[in-house]
């Protein structure tokens, strides 16, 4: 059974550096792997290991202070090389050097009831791979979801559909069977109607059509059943659902990860098979266009990803690396007056808008930060019933009542990403929303 969802608002940004051949190639073994607690907002990390400890794949590296069953686990078997701390002893990352072995932690997967199901997910580390709304954080230990939303689409710029890799029906059905123990509501799976993901029994399939952000969980929720105050929903991507299924079928977590290496600075964009938390160097060495200018390596897509250096690690949600020019060494004379067809814009005043070509944008803001001047720029890219500008202003004013009334519980920073791209005032919308969500959580919890 499936329903259809047609999204009209939004934009597919035309960028150079997309993947042509979806066949995955094996990435070389990474010298080290890292788990970064900052990727798991809401997870209060405490170390479960010491430097030098031997760990197997799936063994806990960090646990949550509020609920020791909740873990972040090692993606490989090896030795804990370092627990890197920052200011006020905050854990920045736990680095594991692989020993090449195939030693993996197995879990008892015959779960009888909800409590056992929850414990299995928490202990396997897969709980932390999910997100909850409100707040767009790792689900709270006692959170009971009204519904669960799975996205089998990645509509972000240059992203590759996860449906091409994590589509085994038996595996996905096993995962849905487990998740359905945890909600009295429904499990929705948003997919493209391209037949890659078959109907999964136990879940309601949603065939989503339309430009980015049609693949975002927020859009799925907003158009099916928005989050009300006091309700919690969970969101996860297809890869996480697949990992839950693999856990149910094999007893251990499968950390295999398909990463799309994309962007205009990549020689041949391709999909690489690696493991969660791999070092960026293992994926980009020899793959980038040799350049004298600076390059920005982003773990993730250009709208929501995290800047990482060549010494960084693959970050959650472990799907994509994008490399674009940094642009901080470009001298552009009177760029605001440019009529160059190479300038990327949604404005019809740039001829590039009309030519069907792809662009090679760099990371410059291309303008000064201003107060919000033009109106409606966010609404155009947000297929949700949210008054984006007013919500942003309520957040900036730290007005909790207004934030609630305007639907802050329904949104995640990524829902504002496309608007942030188009905003002529160059507002840091995602940062504002993230800070607003954190502020609200601190005040209300």
């Amino acid at each position: 059974m499936s329903r259809k969802l047609k999204i009209r608002k939004g934009l597919d940004i035309r960028m150079a550096g997309g993947v042509d051949d979806l066949a995955a190639v094996d990435a070389p073994q990474s010298a080290s792997y890292a788990i970064i607690p900052d990727d798991f907002i809401g997870f209060v990390a405490k170390p479960a290991v010491k430097e030098g400890d031997k760990v197997s794949a799936g063994a806990p590296l960090l646990y949550d202070k509020r609920d020791e069953a909740m873990k972040l686990v090692s993606p490989v078997a090896g030795t804990v090389e370092a627990i890197v701390r920052g200011e006020r002893r905050k854990i920045l990352r736990v680095v594991v050097t692989p020993d090449g072995g195939d030693d993996r932690l197995t879990h008892a997967v015959s779960v009888k009831d909800e409590a056992e199901a929850r414990n299995l997910l928490k202990n396997s580390g897969l709980w932390a791979m999910m997100r909850q709304r409100p707040y767009d954080i790792v689900p709270n230990p006692d959170a009971v979801p009204r519904d669960i939303f799975v996205t089998a689409i990645d509509s972000a710029p240059l992203a590759v559909s996860p449906a091409a890799y994590y589509n085994d029906t038996e595996t996905l059905e096993a995962a849905v069977a487990l998740l359905s123990k945890m909600t009295r509501g429904k499990i929705y799976i948003g997919r493209r109607a391209d037949g890659l993901v078959a109907d999964i029994s136990g879940a309601e399939m949603v065939d989503v059509e339309g430009p980015h952000p049609s693949g975002n969980a927020g859009v799925l929720i907003a158009n099916i059943s928005p989050v009300n105050k006091g309700e919690t929903v969970w969101t996860l991507d297809l890869a996480t659902l697949w990992r839950i299924g693999r856990l149910m079928l094999t007893g251990s977590v499968d950390f295999t990860d398909y990463v799309a290496l994309t962007g205009s600075e990549v020689k041949t964009p391709k999909v690489m098979r690696t493991v969660i938390g791999a070092a960026i160097a293992s994926l980009t060495d020899g793959q980038l266009v040799p350049a004298t200018h600076h390059q920005r390596i982003i773990s993730g897509n250009v709208l929501t990803g995290v800047t990482v250096g060549t010494d960084g690690y693959l970050r959650y949600p472990y799907r994509q690396i994008t490399v674009i020019p940094e642009g901080d060494d470009v001298d552009e004379f009177m760029g605001w007056a440019s009529l160059s067809p190479r300038k990327m814009s949604q404005s019809r005043t740039f001829p590039g808008k009309f030519l069907g070509r792809v662009f090679r944008p760099d990371a410059r803001l291309l303008g000064g930060r201003r107060a919000l001047i033009m109106s409606g720029e966010y609404d155009r890219y947000m297929p949700m019933d949210i008054m984006a500008e007013y919500l942003l202003k309520a957040i900036i004013g730290r007005d909790i009542e207004k934030m609630e009334k305007l639907g802050i519980y329904e949104v995640a920073p990524e829902d504002f990403a496309l608007g942030e791209y188009a905003d002529t005032s160059k507002t840091e919308a995602q940062k504002i929303v993230r800070e607003g969500l954190d502020y609200l959580r601190k005040e209300l919890e």
Binding site: P226, N228, K229, V302, L303, T304, G305, I324, G327, D328, V330, E332, F333, M334, W336, A337, S338, M344, S345, S347, R348, T349, F350, P361, D362, A363, R364, L365, L366, G367, G368, R369, R370, A371, L372, I373, M374, S375, G376, D379, D385, I386, M387, Y390, K405, L406, G407, P413, F416, A417, E420, Y421, A422, D423, T424, S425, E428, A429, Q430, K431
Partner: protein
């Protein structure tokens, strides 16, 4: 070159006091190299500089036509049979140039000083305001008045609210309103809309005896009690037709007379996606509806009620206000539904003031300013409907569960 002098303007440099000015020039000449540090890594090439420049470009047809018309009206006034194009343009150019210079020097001067004082980047909002001010003022407005009015509105309407993007009222319109209410003697009536003096030896001649200098709306306002209205040219009995009003060879504020040039500007703004078509369309709709109503119950008591819809929309500052004033995104409604209401009311109120207040023949300026004040209220109602939708959704949920 810029990089060489840069150290002087940085903290501790000799010219640090002018660093905002330096930044202003640097970002004007070169796209800033600052890159994204949070959120989206890429940004659209559109920025507020380009936005403002496009509005200025959209105003150029009105400016050029205003020059020609200023010359034309002068040549008409002196009764010249020949109207040499180059002389007309040059006359208009010389008439408007000092006003442009005064408006920009005063406005930008204040903006630069405030930016420097707040240690902020110079913002480009005044680029548009500075050209709007001469365009909406009568040709004979004394320069010192423009200077005083510009200073007043930039300081009290914009900077005290926090600068570009925070003002409640349209800065250019407040300048015009300030002139109108502070110097009513000099700013209305028949004397100011046609320049009767020669400029730099151009257009020497004596004003003909029949010259009145009254604008069409000014003439209409004086015809109370007549059974029909007649509009004539400034020097006699030639009737002014609707097409004259559309093309704009009539006396009026400098850049407002030609509906055609305003529509060219509107086309530029709409193509660029800068002005809201919702607002422009609904201002004209509101004006047309109100004109029809006024026309249906026309009375000699209010002579302007006898004007046709087309005349109402072409005359005075109506079209200019619809395209360039009502669409100012900062002072207009920001919600889509709000824009329809806001625009419609501007159109309707402009005609109401024009028709039913003989003392003040033009209402577009006051209508826009009035709706500027009400725009946040309209938006509040629209946002409130979103809030209520959310609350209702929750209530239904709760009753379902009970």
């Amino acid at each position: 070159m810029l990089d060489k002098v840069k150290p002087h303007f940085q903290e501790g440099g000799r010219l640090h006091a002018f660093h905002s000015v330096y930044d202003g020039f640097e970002t004007f000449l070169f796209t800033p190299r600052s890159t994204s540090t949070s959120g989206a890594h890429i940004h659209d090439s559109m920025d507020s500089k380009r936005t403002m420049i496009i509005v200025v470009m959209a105003l150029v047809p009105c400016l050029l036509f205003g020059m020609y018309n200023a010359g034309y009206q002068h040549w008409v006034a002196i009764g010249a049979a020949e109207k040499p194009f180059v002389s007309l343009m040059l006359y208009g150019f010389l008439a408007v140039l000092p006003k442009l210079v005064v408006s920009y020097v005063v406005g930008l001067g204040i903006e630069f000083a405030v930016a420097q004082w707040r240690r902020e980047e110079i913002q480009e909002g005044f680029l548009v305001t500075g050209i709007l001010i001469p365009l909406i003022c009568p040709i004979d407005t004394p320069l010192w008045m423009i200077a005083v009015a510009t200073a007043f509105s930039v300081i009290f309407v914009k900077e005290v609210f926090g600068g570009t993007g925070y003002n409640i009222f349209n800065v250019a319109l407040v300048t015009r309103a300030f002139l109108f209410f502070a110097y009513p003697g000099q700013m209305s009536g028949d004397k100011v809309f046609v320049d009767t003096d020669a400029i730099a030896g151009l257009g020497e001649g004596t004003v003909v005896d029949t010259f009145t200098g009254a604008t069409p709306l000014g003439q209409v306002a004086l015809q109370a009690g007549e059974q029909s209205v007649t509009i004539t040219s400034t020097v006699g009995s030639d009737p002014v037709t609707t097409s004259d009003m559309f093309f704009g060879l009539i006396p009026g504020s400098f850049g407002e007379t030609s509906t055609l040039c305003i529509l060219i500007g509107a086309a530029i703004l709409l193509f660029a996606g800068i002005a809201s078509w919702r607002i422009i369309v609904s201002v004209f709709a509101g004006g047309a509806v109100m004109s029809l109503i006024a026309n249906a119950c026309s009375t000699p008591l209010y002579p302007a009620s006898m004007l046709s819809v087309a005349d109402q929309l072409c005359l005075g500052g109506f079209a200019f206000a619809a395209v360039f004033m009502a669409t100012d995104p900062v002072t207009a409604c920001r919600t889509n539904v709000g824009k329809y209401i806001y625009g419609f009311l501007i159109g309707a109120i402009a005609i109401i003031i024009r028709v039913y207040n003989n003392g003040y023949p033009e209402g577009a300026m006051l209508a826009v300013l009035l709706m500027n004040a009400f725009a946040p209220l309209i938006d509040w109602c629209v946002v409130q409907s979103n809030v209520r939708r959310r609350e209702r959704r929750m209530k239904i949920k709760i009753t379902d569960n009970e």
